[in-house]
């Protein structure tokens, strides 16, 4: 079973409050909170940009490698069901997010599509946090979960951007006073997404990990597994600082987006847990899949949206993804998805 690392081991059958407490007292949540606190008190604390880049490369590569090693033990039959429901989730979540934002929130087409692209894609850090959590409560997720992470990363962004592009061009035809800027070719956008850093490291890591197997993994394990939790803790500090930077924008984002950033993940997480249970995933696997479906990307999606839908206001999508949904998932969402998954799987 895939357990990158575990906190103190807790027996299964702990109650919801215990689960929340375990989650709140994890070094990940606390270092994130420290980052937010540092911003709130206007501390000079900041991490060098290069350290952030280096840490994100390390985390994604480690995730891919370890996932690849675990994948080398998995059969095609075991992974095909979960892979299918993951792709289905990747198609569903951007559409549901778009419809809620456009119809209920009355956001513009560009803003709705821009935010939907973030909620259709996945946050790798939320994924890792969910994996840590399931391991800590004694229900580790299946080893092939990082493969599902790569499957979920792209379609959500693409579908939301496509909705945005189609709707905008329809609106432009109806109202010919538009500026008439030429849309960027799909091929260019796809190239950017498929050759992005996170895809290269995750997919590359998965392939290398599968190719080298357990024996090849052993010599590099101290670096990619031993240091993982400590470096992830530093990364969460940076995430906290970034989220803290966005807190000031909450007012501009408005109450609807605040509610959306909390309720939409719960809906997506519930659907994810249900589909995971249908595909035969364990409680841990369902929890991680739910957290993936519930999470909002803030690494791959923002540049893609900025390039393709520049009319979308970054304050909305960055604040929702980074300052609302990410902390919610980290603190309360993941334990909630665990409880929901237990019901579906029992």
């Amino acid at each position: 079973m895939f357990r990158v690392l575990s906190f103190a081991k807790y027996p299964t059958g702990v109650c919801m409050l215990d689960v929340l407490r375990i989650n709140l007292c994890s070094p990940l949540t606390l270092s994130f909170a420290l980052g937010v606190f540092a911003r709130l008190v206007r501390s000079e604390l900041s991490l060098p940009r290069d350290l952030y880049t280096a840490l994100s490369i390390y985390l994604l590569f480690a995730l891919g490698l370890k996932g690849g090693v675990e994948l080398s033990h998995s059969s095609l039959a075991a992974i095909s069901g979960p892979a299918l429901v993951t792709i289905l989730l990747g198609c569903l979540t951007p559409v549901s997010a778009y419809l809620v934002l456009r119809k209920m929130g009355r956001f513009s087409i560009a803003d709705s599509a821009g935010i939907a692209a973030h909620y259709g894609s996945v946050s790798a850090v939320t994924f890792i946090a969910a994996q840590q959590f399931t391991a800590s409560v004694g229900a580790p997720a299946e080893g092939f979960m990082p493969t599902l992470l790569t499957l979920l990363e792209i379609p959500g962004i693409q579908i939301a951007l496509a909705i945005g592009a189609f709707q905008m061009s329809a609106a432009a035809k109806a109202n010919p006073d538009g500026t008439g800027q030429v849309a960027r070719p799909v091929r260019e956008i796809m190239h950017e997404l498929l050759t992005s850093r996170s895809m290269m490291l995750l997919v590359g890591g998965l392939i290398i990990g599968t190719a080298v197997g357990e024996s090849g993994w052993k010599p590099v394990q101290p670096v990619f597994e031993g240091l993982f939790k400590g470096l992830l803790t530093i990364f969460l500090l940076e995430m906290g600082l970034a989220a803290g930077n966005r807190l000031g924008d909450l007012k501009q984002a408005g109450l609807f987006l605040l509610g959306f950033g909390i309720l939409m993940p719960i809906v997506h997480g519930t659907v994810g847990a249900y589909l995971g249970s249908l595909a035969g995933l364990s409680v841990g696997g369902c929890t991680v899949l739910a957290a993936m479906a519930a999470s909002a990307s803030y690494i791959a999606a923002p540049p893609a949206v900025r390039m393709t839908l520049p009319e979308a206001n970054p304050t909305f999508y960055l604040t929702a993804a980074l300052a609302i949904t990410f902390p919610f998932n980290l603190i309360a969402g993941i334990p909630i998805y665990y409880e929901i998954s237990k019901r579906f799987c029992s």
Binding site: T179, A242, N245, P302, V305, M307, P314
Partner: protein, 100 residues
């Protein structure tokens, strides 16, 4: 030493536009360019990137015709939707033929 007056076009833009701007500068006929990271704030405050983004400063020394072509292109393609500024200054260079 004999110098030649040429245009220095400076573009300060959000970092995600780097590749597109370089391609534009190249296709407009510039022989070279320099890109540096930049920090700052404008009226848009719209930065997206690692995690909250940064800016770049792209400088290129070109003939007045190329500078004009580039300014027109930037005005149409970028000004309205992205955080971008561009300005021209006259510089004196030696080996003027290197740039045009």
């Amino acid at each position: 030493m004999k110098t030649v007056p040429l245009c220095l076009l400076t573009i300060v833009a959000e970092a995600i536009l780097k590749e597109r701007l370089i391609a534009d500068v190249r296709s407009a006929g510039a022989k070279g360019y320099t890109v540096t990271e930049a920090e700052g704030e404008g009226i848009r405050q719209r930065r997206v990137g690692e995690i909250l983004g940064s800016n770049i400063r792209l400088e290129t020394i070109v003939s007045p015709e190329v500078a004009d072509r580039l300014l027109k292109l930037i005005s149409v393609e970028y000004f309205e939707r992205y955080a971008v500024i561009a300005y021209l200054s006259t510089v004196s260079v030696i080996r003027g033929e290197k740039y045009v």
